[in-house]
Amino acid sequence: MGAYMSEKKYTKDHEWVSIENEIATIGISNHAQESLGDIVFIELPSVGNSVKAKDEICVVESVKAASDIYAPIDGEIIEVNNNLENDAAIINKDAENEGWIFKMKISDSSQYSELMSEDEYKQFLEQ
């Protein structure tokens, strides 16, 4: 795969993924944080776990509801955003940057290419 791809892509589960040097960073979309409302807690995934696309790997709890976070592609979890442990509301403030949730070393970059571009995600939201 290419050494450097920084275009942000989106899943139908309202997660975003960006890739740099085979490392994917994942969070929930700004649209997702808006519909969840005040986020009060996140159960972070375990570093070292190997996961498959669509596996439920952690949970975001807002005042309204609990919401599962899925692995967008196959890979190994290599880092989590520990800042969220003390202040999950960072996701409300900046879901698509500071509010990233975990990083994965990915094994199949073709899965990434199949995800939606920002424009495609916008259209998906309008449907």
């Binding site: 409302g37 005040d38 309204k64």
Partner: protein, 346 residues
């Protein structure tokens, strides 16, 4: 009424506890029933109060009961005069309009559903009186659960000092045509804001107040729900009251379940429907309402457990297939802040 407005549930919640907030609860039922002896007698089959003896200009928390003493709905019933005529004014849950109105109309065929022409607003929080008093005449000695007729825009409006947040506050029943004007005037006060269903729920839960469809249902009696204080004990001897035998037996004997308050010991949220277990993985009860408490910065819940369970022992809640320790907490979670001298809520 939306779940929340722009600033979110937690901010709305805190604004009510610290200042004030306005809830548009126009979806709730409001009905006027003429205060006549035959109507009252028929209503007393369902309502466990001595309706003939209700004090004028006072409200009471009560219920409609089914034949087994289960709760068809919980409601606020008040005795007021409008244009020199005496009425019972009843406010009831939107989700139970059909069931309640069938009963009201069968008892009093000319009962008037005034929610069709009147909005209902609740302004709640310690600053409510300051926000309201320049707009509507509120007597200084008005206590929690007092109710009166006042004027706004040359229309008669019903003002009660009440609400369901645990805070001081008022409910205003106001003709539709004046409603928008009044809301805009209230919102000119920069410390108040519109609040939605989300904060309404977290506020009532912190205050330990029951919600129909959660703590209350046709299968739960007011006694099982820990609300026996709201029953007129003389009425329990009256054969005319639905479920009177069940209720007087329950008062004398031990109940099979008890209502409890719970606080999470982890960061996970306690939610409606989660199951509670003892030390040995035996199911001992269920959560009926759970939420994040902005005041305690933890998740809180109300639920029912079997009476024989000794609450000195640990309780676990199953959250996403894991057992998490929860702690019993006396209700309410947050102290009520009513203006009163001897209100039935004490």
């Amino acid at each position: 009424m939306p779940i929340n407005y722009k600033t979110g549930i937690i901010n709305e919640h805190k604004n009510v506890r610290n200042h004030s907030g306005i809830f548009d609860v126009s979806h709730m039922g409001q009905i006027l029933i003429e205060n006549n002896e035959s109507y009252l007698h028929k209503l007393e089959k369902y309502i466990p109060l001595q309706l003939k003896k209700l004090t004028k200009n006072r409200s009471h928390y009560s219920f409609l009961l089914n034949k087994d003493g289960g709760v068809i709905d919980d409601l606020i019933i008040s005795n007021i005069d409008i244009k020199d005529k005496s009425y019972l004014y009843i406010v009831y849950n939107a989700s139970r309009k059909k069931e309640d109105e069938e009963i009201f109309i069968s008892c009093a065929p000319n009962a008037e559903k005034i929610y069709e022409k009147n909005c209902l607003f609740a302004i709640q929080g310690p600053d409510s009186i300051n926000v309201l008093k320049n707009i509507i005449d509120i007597p200084n000695n008005m206590n929690f659960f007092d109710i009166l007729i006042s004027k706004y825009d040359n229309n008669e409006i019903i003002v009660s000092r009440s609400g369901y947040t645990g805070e001081d506050g008022f409910e205003l029943s106001i003709p539709n045509e004046s409603a928008e004007n009044l809301i805009n005037l209230l919102l000119k006060n920069e410390n108040t804001m519109l609040c939605g269903l989300g904060s309404r729920d977290s506020l009532r839960l912190e205050a330990g107040l029951s919600l129909y469809g959660h703590e209350l249902s046709e299968k739960i009696t007011p006694i099982e729900a820990g609300l026996s204080w709201a029953l007129d004990k003389e009425r329990l001897e009256d054969e005319n009251l639905n479920g009177n035998k069940v209720l007087s037996d329950q008062l004398k004997n031990k109940l099979s379940n008890k209502k409890i308050g719970l606080i999470s010991t982890s960061k996970s949220m306690l939610r409606d429907g989660m199951t509670l277990f003892d030390n040995n993985n035996n199911e001992i009860g269920k959560i009926t309402s759970g939420c994040f408490s902005p005041n305690l910065n933890k998740s809180i819940a109300i639920g029912y457990i079997i009476s024989e369970f000794n609450t000195d022992n640990p309780i676990f809640c199953e959250i996403r297939k894991k057992f998490e320790l929860v702690k019993i907490n006396n209700l309410p979670f947050v102290k009520k802040n009513y203006k009163k001298n001897g209100s039935i809520y004490e």
